[in-house]
């Protein structure tokens, strides 16, 4: 399973993404990082077809942007940034919403995130962390080849954050898994490869261990130190 992306996107005259090009494979966790306004969310929305970019997005050689939404969702899906649920669907109904969800895939997805036992509860009962897991389950139940996630750990406590990251670590064996991550330490710990976006362009791409503080200092405009503690890399930032 392989994803190739090469896209540009403008809102009217304003160019938001400029020649962003990269590839991803199943088995690796590719995280997209970058400061606010770098174009990370826009990139995901373009890839899944919510926005209409120029260029191409191919999954195993097939151009997904030219597909109808129904066929495209088979190839690539997206977990939006978590907002509070507005409707009192039950957890099961909520996960069942996708076009390709089946009874079996819904059950598997809910078991994966540990919420099958609570399937009859309304989603409005869930905490922020549990709701995020439900959003991921909804994407998983689709069984799409590529899963994009927009800041899946924002607003979560440390326990749910790690739960989500472990979930992504498991997902990468079945799907091309690409989260946008704000927390650089999470990205350093969990990602196999990073793409750093800055002002709509790909500024840097590589393995977490190759990331130099100087690149981050330039992009984020802060002082950055990367420490090695017991084999883990820890990032410290100061103004």
């Amino acid at each position: 399973m392989r994803l190739d992306v090469d896209i540009s996107f403008s809102y009217g005259e304003v160019e938001v993404l400029k020649d962003v090009e990269f590839s991803a494979r199943k088995g690796e966790l590719l995280a997209i990082i970058g400061p606010n306004g770098a174009g990370k969310s826009t990139l995901l929305k373009c890839m899944v077809g919510i926005l209409k970019p120029r260029g191409h997005v191919t999954v195993d050689g097939a151009d997904v942007l030219s597909l109808k939404p129904k066929e495209r969702a088979r190839m690539i899906t997206y977990v939006p940034q978590s907002a509070l649920p507005e409707f009192t669907f039950t957890i099961e109904e909520f996960v069942e919403m996708g076009t390709y969800a089946t009874r079996g895939s819904v059950r598997r997805a809910l078991e994966t995130v540990g919420l099958w036992e609570r399937k009859d509860e309304p989603v409005t009962n869930l905490s922020g962390g549990e709701y995020q897991l439900t959003l991921i389950a909804r994407a998983l139940a689709q069984d799409s080849r590529v899963v994009l996630l927009d800041e899946p750990t924002s607003h979560l406590d440390i326990n749910h954050t790690l739960q989500v990251m472990e979930l992504l670590r498991g997902m990468k064996e079945e799907h091309v898994t690409i989260p946008v991550l704000h927390d650089l330490n999470l990205a350093l710990t969990y990602a196999d490869r990073l793409i750093l976006l800055h002002r709509g362009r790909k500024r840097w791409e590589g393995k977490p261990e190759e990331l130099e503080p100087s690149v981050l200092e330039e992009v984020y405009g802060v002082k950055v130190k990367i420490l090695e503690i017991e084999g883990e890399r820890l990032l410290l930032a100061a103004p």
Partner: protein, 341 residues
């Protein structure tokens, strides 16, 4: 099986039963007293005659009242109720807004202009005029809201509201200018099933079968519309289904309005009552709300006929007077709000 679908197994038969009761009462009660036994005899005779199964030439007593006056009227009210309530469900999903009314896309505004013009130039043709203007108005609102081939729902909502103000200005201008001649427009705008014919029933049955049938069939897509643009990631062709939903709402409401005038509140209250009772899943919500809409309108029409006998109150007044207090009660009882009941 989850709790809500167990609810559904209870609610659908209950609503179907209520439908039959209200239809029966609608035929039974009226300004002329008809014995209950004659109602079934009359209907049985009418059906048999329509199917050419009877050779008796002499119809039973009260047959004309039952078969030619009350039954078409009651059935028309029921069908219009189905149409308005299911269109209401669809409008609320399309706009992701609990206040969305099926008329919001310009149907009632346009129909009123049509009716006002007809009242001056062709008083017998109010229905067709209303229909043509309703459809035309939806097209105007829809095109006005179009941005780069897409129709953002917020823009559509605002375009509908703006058009509504303009259209009511035109309508009131005609009514004020034409005075007495245009007075019938007022009555028409309040809604009535007076003078319903079997032809009206047939037409409305086809429209409801197509429109409401489509909305019930496409429950998954209506659920996904609630998610907005993001539902693309779950496989929905958002722009296609927005168009189809607008089309279904326009079809249902334009015909409902052209046969019975503007009957408010059913499209708002029936979906919300069922949403509070059954939750937001359109698999259950659309059919349940449609049936409730039918029951409500038949009941409202009954009240409209008997409350100030021998004259009639416009049914729109009854739906608002009955529906609003009950709705306010439900709102208070479910303080969390209507969309997150």
């Amino acid at each position: 099986m989850d709790k809500k679908s167990r609810h559904m197994r209870k609610w659908l038969p209950a609503l179907a039963f209520l439908s039959l009761v209200s239809l029966f009462l609608g035929v039974y009660v009226g300004s002329v007293g008809v014995p209950a036994s004659q109602v079934s005899t009359g209907i049985a005779y009418g059906v048999a005659r329509a199917l050419h199964l009877t050779t008796t030439s002499k119809p039973p007593k009260f047959f004309v009242i039952i078969w030619e006056i009350r039954l078409p009227r009651v059935l028309l009210a029921y069908l219009v109720g189905l149409a308005l309530a299911s269109a209401g469900v669809a409008a609320q999903a399309l706009f992701k807004n609990p206040l969305a009314d099926p008329y919001i896309i310009g149907v009632s505004a346009g129909a009123s202009i049509g009716a006002a013009i007809a009242s001056v130039y062709a008083p017998s043709q109010m229905g067709p005029f209303a229909l043509v203007f309703a459809v035309f108005s939806v097209l105007v609102v829809y095109s006005a809201a179009k941005v780069d081939g897409n129709v953002p729902v917020d823009t559509l909502l605002l375009a509908g509201v703006a058009y509504g103000f303009m259209a009511s200005a035109v309508t009131w201008y005609i009514i004020l200018k034409e005075g007495e001649r245009a007075r019938v427009t007022w009555m028409w705008m309040m809604g009535s099933f007076n003078g319903a014919s079997w032809a009206n029933v047939g037409q409305m049955a086809v429209v409801t079968l197509l429109g409401t049938g489509f909305l019930i069939w496409k429950w998954r897509e209506l659920n996904l519309l609630l998610l907005g643009e993001e539902s693309v990631a779950l496989g929905l062709d958002v722009s296609l289904y927005r168009k189809l939903t607008v089309g279904a709402i326009a079809l249902l409401t334009a015909f409902a309005v052209s046969t019975a005038g503007i009957i408010g509140f059913v499209g708002l209250v029936a979906p919300h009552i069922m949403r509070i009772l059954l939750g937001p899943n359109h698999r259950r919500l659309t059919p349940a709300a449609a049936l409730l809409g039918g029951v409500l309108l038949v009941t409202a029409d009954l009240v409209a006929r008997v409350l100030s006998r021998p004259t009639e109150i416009p049914v729109g007044i009854v739906t608002a007077l009955m529906g609003a207090p009950f709705f306010l009660y439900l709102l208070r009882k479910h303080r969390k709000g209507v969309f997150t009941a």
